[in-house]
């Protein structure tokens, strides 16, 4: 299937205008200048498809599901036409040695040029024995595949930050891609699962400009992770007015008030759900009446409970009574000592006579 992408698309019945429109939307979403849509369309239409290797590690396949079942299969799917997906266990027809061969061939043929997509965390416990493919640990595979990669895309919270496998007490010793690979450009696309448009956006950017999009300090594309859920939430006006749902079935909940008190992690979660939404723009968690879990943030699983408001401390009075007793005891002890000292000074009092005014 070589040749310009536009021809491939045309064969699938996707017109140039449809593609242009798609690129314009993609550019807008990524906060690129309007002219970038056109540039993107022209670049991608003519580009030779880069080789992509997709390695699944300790994961649940939710990320793959998210991408492959995204709302407009033809359009999101055409991103896969832009690339040459040379290895993806879940999707590929090949199996066993055949599959491994495909992987090695792709790596050899495209040395230094292929994109590596990783989903799932990498277990380090028991020398990586918790997750092996073809008798080799994830760690080993990742190191080998990363060696020849031009860039790595860590798909989902597990690959980006360790995710649920890393949740306390982290029995497998799970770590993220960037914990292991230090010498390659890495893009994290966290989320459990991540928003499909984000990965296509990153790919489109890479294809158009040959570079990764601008990243924040957690290596997330700023275009999608630049603002919190709370900033873009349609329920934000209620927060500003101090109107909060107190339970999931009260009047406030019915009126669609802010879910802050019900534990919404929107204010500390950087993601694009509030604007991109899910299921083809149908809805998203907050719109369906549930607070944000913060799934795209590191260690969201251990951040003090999904239903505890952010302003609520975990258990602030745990040591309060003990501290109060200790404080009172210390106070009483000092009081006794002070009174003894004062008493001693008083009993040692020598009545001052006139002569005692002089040295």
């Amino acid at each position: 299937m070589q040749g310009p992408l536009i021809d491939t698309l045309a064969r699938q019945g996707i017109t140039r205008r449809t593609f242009l429109k798609y690129c314009a939307t993609l550019a807008s979403m990524m906060a690129l200048p309007p002219s970038a849509g056109l540039a993107m369309a022209e670049a991608i239409a003519a580009v030779r498809r880069p080789s992509v290797i997709w390695l699944p590690f300790q994961e649940c396949t939710g990320c793959t599901e998210s991408i492959t079942r995204s709302h407009s299969p033809t359009l999101e799917g055409m991103i896969f036409d832009m690339i040459s997906l040379d290895y993806q266990e879940t999707l590929m027809a090949a199996a066993g040695f055949q599959a491994e061969e495909a992987l090695h061939n792709a790596m050899k043929d495209n040395m230094g040029k292929y994109l590596l997509i990783v989903d799932g965390s990498i277990p380090l416990g028991l020398d990586g024995a918790y997750s092996c493919i073809g008798g080799r640990s994830n760690l080993e595979i990742l190191k080998e595949a990363a060696e020849g990669a031009a860039a790595i895309i860590a798909m989902g919270s597990c690959a980006s930050f360790g995710g649920i496998p890393k949740a306390n007490p982290n029995p497998t010793g799970a770590v993220s891609v960037s914990d292991i690979i230090k010498n390659k450009p890495i893009v994290n696309i966290p989320g459990c699962p991540p928003i499909p448009a984000v990965i296509t956006g990153v790919l489109a950017h890479y294809l158009t400009f040959g570079t990764l999009p601008e990243l924040d300090d957690k290596k997330r594309p700023k275009a999608f992770y630049g603002e919190t859920i709370h900033d873009r939430c349609y329920r934000r006006p209620f927060y500003d007015q101090g109107k909060f749902a107190k339970t999931f079935d009260d009047e406030g909940a019915r009126r669609g008030w802010c879910l802050f008190e019900l534990g919404c992690k929107g204010p500390v979660t950087y993601n694009a759900c509030a604007t991109e939404k899910w299921n083809g723009g149908t809805s998203w968690p907050v719109e369906s009446g549930h607070g944000c879990l913060g799934c795209s943030e590191p260690d969201f699983w251990d951040a003090g409970g999904f239903y505890k408001a952010l302003s609520m401390p975990a258990d602030p009075l745990k040591i309060a009574s003990a501290a109060s007793v200790a404080g009172a005891a210390a106070g009483v002890a000092i009081s006794v000592a002070n009174r003894a000292k004062k008493g001693a000074a008083r009993s040692a009092h020598e009545t001052t006579g006139l002569a005692d005014l002089e040295k």
Binding site: A330, I334, N338, K341, K342, A345, R346, A348, H349, E350, T351, T352, G353, L354, A355, D356, L357, E358, K359
Partner: protein, 427 residues
């Protein structure tokens, strides 16, 4: 010959109490007390900030009575108070503080700074750091009976003069009299008219009264130097005299600290409540006026203003009476700015006027008072404290201002119509 630093610190440990602890912990260094202190406002020197005058006391408190203070001292973060340091502080605790109480009145966190200065002086005097001038006054009060060396014969000579001039007998040691009248040396020496005035007033009111031969002097330099032991000796004489004569009320003369010593400190010094009442002469006059026992004739027509003695207003609660009395006899009475509760000190109270080396500073601080006078330009100033009066007179002279100062009691008495001896009081 036995004053030592150690003794001073021990006394401070005795007198530090919960209010002092609360006050030191409340101070936020806002500096507002400085703005209320005439020694700061007139010099602009921040060392005269009232709370700063207590710095050694604060350290003693912190190092002796707080756990953190003890630790700080142990690791060298807080210096121990030294004898030299207390010596340096003499100027701040005595020369530049008249115990006027303006700082205590304005402190936003409610610190009674004067209360602390009074207590700090206990330690200063016990460690030998009281100024020579006040020490001399205490010495004379204890040994002779008066800070100005006034003895009974001098009082008797005065009594004789008054009896001759006005034909009113002055009772001495009259048992069972209702009032026992006290004097201050200042009045005996400089303002003899006071005794005559009291005699006329008592006579008109028809009240029984007496002087006491063993306790005629009301001033208490022990309070000013800040030594309770010595103050107690002085106040005990008055208590003994009053109890011996079985009087109902002891009248404090026109003297601020005498009033404070007797009215508020006396009972605490001797450790039991008094068996008699203590009133300032102005309070007594106010009562007479209310009861219709005080009748005056004629009015002063020149421009008069009233200087509130600090111990009478802020530290004593006598504010309205002098104004009522003045209005009885004056047509042209004007109030100075800040008059009453927030009046500015004469700059020589609290023993400060007895400190020779503090005179220059005192005169500088007086400019505050001067500005008050300049604001209303009175012809004469009336006051109710002999010490204020003498300090005002001296300072006015220094600034070459021709402004007579008179006592309120005398002025009232001048308007009491002459009466035949033993005439009916109800005219």
């Amino acid at each position: 010959m036995s004053a030592t630093l150690e003794k001073g610190i021990r006394v401070l440990k005795e007198v530090i109490d919960a209010p002092i602890a609360s006050y030191f912990n409340s101070c936020v260094h806002c500096g507002i007390c400085a703005e209320a202190c005439l020694f700061y406002t007139e010099t602009g020197d921040p060392q005269y900030t009232p709370i700063h005058k207590l710095e050694p006391l604060r350290r003693v408190y912190e190092q002796e009575y707080t756990l953190l203070g003890r630790l700080k001292k142990m690791v060298g973060l807080s210096r121990a108070v030294t004898d030299d340091e207390l010596g340096e502080w003499q100027e701040l605790v005595y020369n530049s503080c008249t115990l006027c109480g303006r700082c205590s009145a304005v402190c936003p966190v409610g610190n009674d700074i004067v209360y602390m200065v009074r207590k700090f002086r206990e330690g200063m005097s016990a460690s030998g750091h009281a100024p020579e001038g006040i020490k001399g006054a205490v010495n004379r009060t204890i040994t002779v009976g008066s800070p100005m060396n006034v003895k009974l014969p001098a009082v008797q000579a005065q009594m004789k003069h008054v009896e001759e001039d006005y034909g009113i007998p002055i009772p001495l040691d009259a048992e069972g009299a209702e009032y026992m009248v006290m004097l201050s040396s200042m009045e005996i020496m400089n303002f003899p008219e006071y005794l005559a005035a009291v005699a006329k007033i008592m006579h008109q009111a028809g009240k029984s009264w007496t002087l006491c031969s063993t306790a005629f002097e009301a001033t208490n330099a022990g309070i000013q130097i800040g030594n309770s032991d010595l103050a107690r000796v002085i106040v005990s004489r008055i208590v003994e005299g009053a109890e011996k004569l079985k009087v109902k009320t002891v009248i404090s003369p026109e003297c601020g600290h005498a009033y404070t010593a007797l009215r508020w400190e006396g009972a605490n010094l001797i450790g039991r409540p008094f068996t008699f009442e203590v009133k300032h002469i102005i309070e007594v006059l106010g009562e007479f006026q209310q009861q219709g026992l005080l009748k005056t004739k004629g009015f002063e027509t020149d421009r008069l203003t009233f200087h509130d003695p600090c111990q009478l207003v802020r530290r004593g609660g006598v504010i309205q009476q002098p104004r009522t009395l003045l209005n009885m006899v004056a047509k042209n009475f004007v109030e100075m700015p800040d008059a009453g509760y927030m009046n500015w000190c004469c700059s020589g109270g609290g023993g400060a006027s007895a400190i020779e080396e503090g005179e220059e500073l005192r005169l500088q601080a007086f400019r505050k008072k001067k500005s008050q006078f300049d604001a209303v330009k009175p012809d004469r100033v009336v006051t109710a404290c002999a010490n204020c009066r003498i300090v005002l007179e001296e300072s006015l002279e220094h600034y070459q201002m021709d402004l007579p100062v008179i006592g309120l009691t005398e002025m009232i008495a001048e308007h009491i119509p002459d009466q035949a001896p033993h005439a009916a009081t109800k005219s």
